[in-house]
Amino acid sequence: MKTLFNKILPHPVLTLVLWGVWLLLNNTIGAGHIVLGLILAIFIPWLTSGFWPEKIRIQSPFTLLKFLGVVLWDILVANMSVAKLILSPNKNLKPGFFYIDLDIQTPLGISLLANTISLTPGTVSCDLTEDRKQLLVHALHIEDIPATIKEIKERYEAPLKKVFTAC
């Protein structure tokens, strides 16, 4: 039973997401599209299941939501300050590179962390070492590197690690 279910719905989360995407795309919650969307949301993950060998497991949905909220807020706030930085004279800026030692090890986790770092203004994740242990980040203006690293690890890496634990 479970294997059959697995075969039909290899990635239930994905199915849900796609279903939502379909309804968003069509900008409707009409009955026809709900049915069609569900069919597609089941069909496409099945079709592309080969591309997703590992199962995505979300351990703590609440943490994820909270994380998303934090990120959105950070984007808002940080954008303002970065805008100020950009509009101020270049010579005031103190750019810099730094490595973050990663605790998180799942590929999706690392990727999302890197994305988060890039999305929040002021930092861009530039490179991942080949051993996946360190992330190279560039900051537009940075005064205290260790503090920033610490903040990133606490604010973003920790919740992400909590959400995506399994392989």
């Binding site: 796609l18 379909w22 795309l25 496409i44 079709l47 991942l128």
Partner: protein
């Protein structure tokens, strides 16, 4: 309706019989060596037999015509004519042909292919018969050119010999070329007369001579005549044709082919003669040829060379006679045709016997053959005497008539005194060379260093000569009982009226012609006795004068010219070719526009300009100029091209064409990816190698093109028009079931375009697949500045997140696909999005990984796509509607609600599949190229070459 008798179809049978016989003759060679000769002889006799019944009609003064329609559009009939002239020539062709066949059967050696020889000979015989029997002039030209072709084959029969090949080709070019002139003349003649049939042409002499086109017609026809009959200045091919086997020379170069031109003179005599142009051209050429041939004949050391020049001379004589333009001159001409054919054919045969028996034809080595072959010597002496115009032989009679005409016909001219003198001069040389032929060959001491010891040839080889010599004697002594009837009908056939009074008596009393003959004989002997000094004089000057040198020089010049023109126009350069196309297009547009007087611009109201558009288009223009300016740095040029593509998409959005914008965007990116894939294998920069001049030329062409296109666009945009599009807008929903008119046009109104378009895509995919099979290129291990590539094949972050995108993008693709009929979108765009979704996977995960997970062979995707698209169209056919007729309906299902089902959607699905299949196939196959190349690297020789090529490339940069 006349009853079908032999006389209603015997002429074509006789003419075509030899062609059929040729096949049998070739085939018979498989049986035994001589079978071909038997076939040839049999066919000749059969042809004679077919003609025989109609001869009586001709002797009764009738003309037999047999015709069938062939190409009525141009008045070409399959038509044959048998009158006196045709009768005479048919007899010459067939009788002498038969003798030559007998002779050749013994002449050819064991090494020679009998089948080929007799097949060619029969084909030639058929062609000659065709000429003389044709009623339709175009048909006659056909046979005329056939004689050129078959004589080419016969002259080059000994194809291993350089002189045979060269001689054959020269003969072909001269006589074939003359044939083309003849064709032109005949066409004009037919145009003037309104018919190509001889009957009509012969009765329109007055009309033709009075027509504006008379002179061109005359010149063109005479070109045919002069080339074929070796008249000055085209005479030179004939001596070179002597490389042919002697039976061929005896047949073609004495009795038949060279007489074809003469035949034509006779044929057109009633129509074209009688004008000063005729007299000057025909008479002039004849006289010069007569003299020239006689003079050169004397100095030949090759027996056949002597005979060839002698033939030229005699042909000149006949031509001159026709040139006189009088009826009596024509009689003399025809009489001499007969006589020349007999004595010259026998002389050629004798030459062949000598060649056969001694192994050489050089008269400086051949001496005193009288003791080795007395019988042959006697025959030769009689024939040569006939050639010299010795009394009691046929040559004497016609020469007397000739002298007579030379005196009377030119009587009124200012140059009256010149012609008889020149004529006698030529006759003197005729006597001299005839004497040389006899004396130098059969007397004059002993042979020198001959390859073989000569003796009499086989009896049957002499029989043809015997017969011909007997004819010479018989005609010469009792003309009234031998040649008279045939001459009479031939003259009647030529003149197409009652022939004039003439006498064939041997003795006309002491008169001026007889005196001329006498002078010629005496002086001829005298000239021959002075030969030593004359030869020295000749060798010191004239001998080096050979028209062949001029001929070859002309050919060389033409060849060099051809080479220069061809290579300087077709340089094998793409740039050159493209420039021509572009310049022509520019000129065409300009010329076309200026053909009519019309204003460039109309007065349609124009749209206002807004700031955003100005900015966008300014960027577009700058970006495209920069694409050019930076085209040497290829990657950067590609980035600039990306900007151009992006702005164009935005323009499409702005101008209410969302479908186009979507397509442009997708295509743009796929193109960039494609170019990136390719750029990996190409030099990263473009060397500067074109000259400044070339660059400025290209800039001028580019600017003119730009200006031209701008003006063209404005010319249209400033005018109003009434397009058919309203129909589409009105019928899209009721007729096509979709509100997106563009999509309905694509899948319904103009679905066939789309079908063609997906075929193009499918072909691109398959073509690329085919091209890339086994292709290996140098895969650089470092970039253009020498950096080793990054070791991270598939950056993890990209890998992880793009996998997430796959289902998302497929969802978008399906969304775009399904809405396409009613809203912007459709199979194309959806297909491209889906393809991009897959390509992104290849980009971030690599080919091997992705292929493992994507188990479709793109061939199948393309095939099924085409299948579905076509099947949708075929279903309509099954229902009795035209291909591609669509249908749609609205269904109302519980829960789901009302929705549309349209067959056009199925068609669009086909489109979708082909787009996906072809795009992915193209890109992935290209991507695989690097794998193949990486694997091939160490072992392949070619790769080291291309590496060095690459290095040199980079050094130049």
């Amino acid at each position: 309706m006349t009853a079908i008798t032999l006389l209603s179809f015997n002429l074509p049978i006789a003419a075509l019989l030899p062609f059929v016989g040729a096949i049998f003759a070739a085939w018979a060679a498989n049986i035994n060596r001589l079978a071909s000769a038997w076939v040839a002889a049999f066919v000749t006799i059969l042809a004679l037999a077919f003609l025989a019944p109609s001869m009586a009609m001709v002797f009764a003064g009738e003309t037999l015509i047999q015709s069938w329609t062939w190409m009525p559009v141009i008045g070409l009939e399959f038509a044959f004519r048998f009158d006196g002239l045709a009768l005479l020539f048919s007899l010459l062709i067939l009788v002498i042909g038969l003798l030559v066949i007998i002779y050749a059967r013994y002449y050819l050696s064991k090494k020679d292919s009998m089948g080929r020889f007799f097949a060619y000979l029969l084909m030639f015989m058929g062609s000659m018969l065709g000429i003389v029997l044709s009623e339709n002039l175009i048909q006659m030209v056909v046979f005329w050119e056939l004689t050129s072709l078959t004589s080419f084959l016969l002259i080059s029969y000994w194809q291993h010999r350089q002189d045979a090949r060269a001689g054959a080709r020269m003969a072909l070019v001269i006589t074939g070329g003359g044939g083309l002139a003849l064709l032109a003349g005949v066409l004009l003649l037919g145009h003037v007369v309104g018919s190509y049939n001889l009957t009509d042409v012969l009765s329109a002499g007055e009309l033709i001579r009075g027509h504006d086109l008379y002179f061109p017609i005359l010149v063109l026809i005479l070109l045919g005549v002069f080339t074929k009959s070796a008249q000055f200045p085209f005479h030179f091919w004939l001596p070179h044709a002597m490389a042919a086997p002697t039976p061929v020379s005896a047949y073609l170069h004495s009795a038949t082919m060279v007489k074809a031109g003469i035949f034509l003179l006779a044929r057109f005599f009633p129509v074209l003669s009688g004008t000063p142009e005729w007299t000057w051209l025909v008479g002039g050429a004849g006289l010069i040829t007569f003299l020239l041939g006689a003079y050169f004949a004397l100095f030949q050391h090759d027996i056949k060379g002597l005979l060839a020049y002698s033939t030229i001379s005699h042909l000149g004589l006949i031509t001159l006679l026709f040139g006189f333009g009088t009826q009596l001159a024509a009689v003399a001409a025809i009489f001499h045709i007969i006589n020349h054919a007999t004595f010259k054919a026998s002389l050629f045969m004798v030459a062949g016997i000598i060649d056969h028996e001694t192994g050489t034809r050089d008269m400086r080595r051949i001496n005193g053959l009288l003791k080795y072959m007395p019988h042959t010597a006697v025959l030769a002496m009689i024939a040569a005497a006939a050639m010299a115009g010795v009394p009691l032989l046929n040559g004497f009679l016609s020469k007397e008539m000739f002298f007579d005409q030379a005196l009377t016909a030119s009587g009124s001219s200012v140059w009256a005194w010149a012609i008889p003198i020149l004529v006698v001069l030529a006759a003197v040389f005729s006597v001299a060379y005839s004497l040389r032929f006899i004396h130098d060959v059969f007397f004059n001491g002993d042979p020198i260093n001959l390859p073989k010891t000569p003796h009499e040839p086989p009896r049957f080889m002499k029989i043809p000569v015997d017969l011909l010599v007997i004819i010479c004697l018989a005609v010469g002594m009792i003309p009234m009982f031998t040649v008279a009837p045939i001459l009479a009908v031939a003259v009647a056939g030529t003149l197409q009226t009652t022939p004039p009074e003439y006498s064939l008596a041997i003795w006309h009393g002491f008169n001026l012609p007889l005196l001329m003959s006498f002078i010629a004989l005496v002086l001829g002997v005298l000239v021959y006795t002075m030969r030593k000094r004359l030869f020295e004089w000749h060798e010191s000057g004239m001998a080096h004068w050979d028209a062949r040198i001029i001929f070859n020089a002309v050919l060389g010049v033409i060849g060099a010219f051809a080479n220069r023109v061809t290579r300087s126009f077709d340089k094998g350069s793409l740039q050159n070719a493209t420039v021509w196309v572009l310049v022509t297009a520019l000129l065409a547009g300009f010329i076309g526009f200026t053909t009519v007087s019309a204003p460039l611009f109309g007065d349609r109201e124009l749209l206002p300009v807004d700031g955003v558009s100005v900015l966008a288009i300014a960027i577009l223009m700058v970006a495209s100029v920069l694409t050019v300016a930076w085209h040497r740095k290829r990657l950067i040029a590609l980035v600039m091209l990306g900007v151009v593509g992006l702005i164009i998409s935005l323009m499409f959005v702005k101008f209410s064409a969302p479908d186009l914008a979507l397509t442009q965007l997708s295509v743009e990116i796929v193109t960039v990816i494609l170019l990136l894939l390719a750029l990996y294998f190409l030099p990263q920069t473009t060397p500067k190698e074109t000259s400044d001049l070339r660059v400025s030329r290209d800039i001028v062409i580019a600017l003119l093109s730009g200006v031209g296109v701008t003006l063209l666009a404005m010319a249209v945009l400033t005018r109003d028009f009434a397009p058919i599009s309203e129909f589409f807008l009105l019928n899209s929903v009721p007729g096509g079931g979709g509100t997106n008119v563009v999509n309905v046009i694509l899948v319904d109104f103009r679905g066939t375009d789309t079908l063609g378009e997906i075929a193009v895509l499918a072909l691109a995919g398959l073509g690329i697949f085919a091209m890339l099979q086994g292709m290996k290129l140098h895969a650089p291990a470092q970039d253009s500045v020498g950096r080793i590539w990054n070791s991270d094949l598939h950056p993890e972050i990209m890998q992880t997140l793009t996998r997430l995108l796959l289902p998302l993008m497929l969802m978008i693709a399906i969304y775009i696909f399904l809405r396409g009929h009613n809203l912007p979108g459709g199979g194309f765009i959806a297909g491209l999005i889906a393809a991009v979704a897959l390509i992104v996977q290849y980009l971030s995960n690599g080919i091997a990984w992705t292929n493992d997970r994507l188990k479709f062979d793109m061939h199948w995707v393309i095939g099924f796509g085409l299948l579905i698209a076509t099947a949708t169209g075929l279903v309509a056919m099954g229902l009795g509607y035209p291909f591609m007729t669509t249908a749609f309906t609205y269904l109302n299902w519980p829960v789901v609600g009302k929705f549309e089902v349209a067959s056009a959607i199925a068609f669009d699905l086909g489109v979708f599949l082909v787009v996906v299949g072809a795009t992915v196939m193209s890109l992935v196959e290209l991507g695989k190229l690097s794998d193949q190349s990486h694997q091939a690297q160490p072992s392949l020789n070619g790769s080291t070459q291309s590496t060095s090529a690459l290095k040199s490339q980079q050094e130049t940069n």
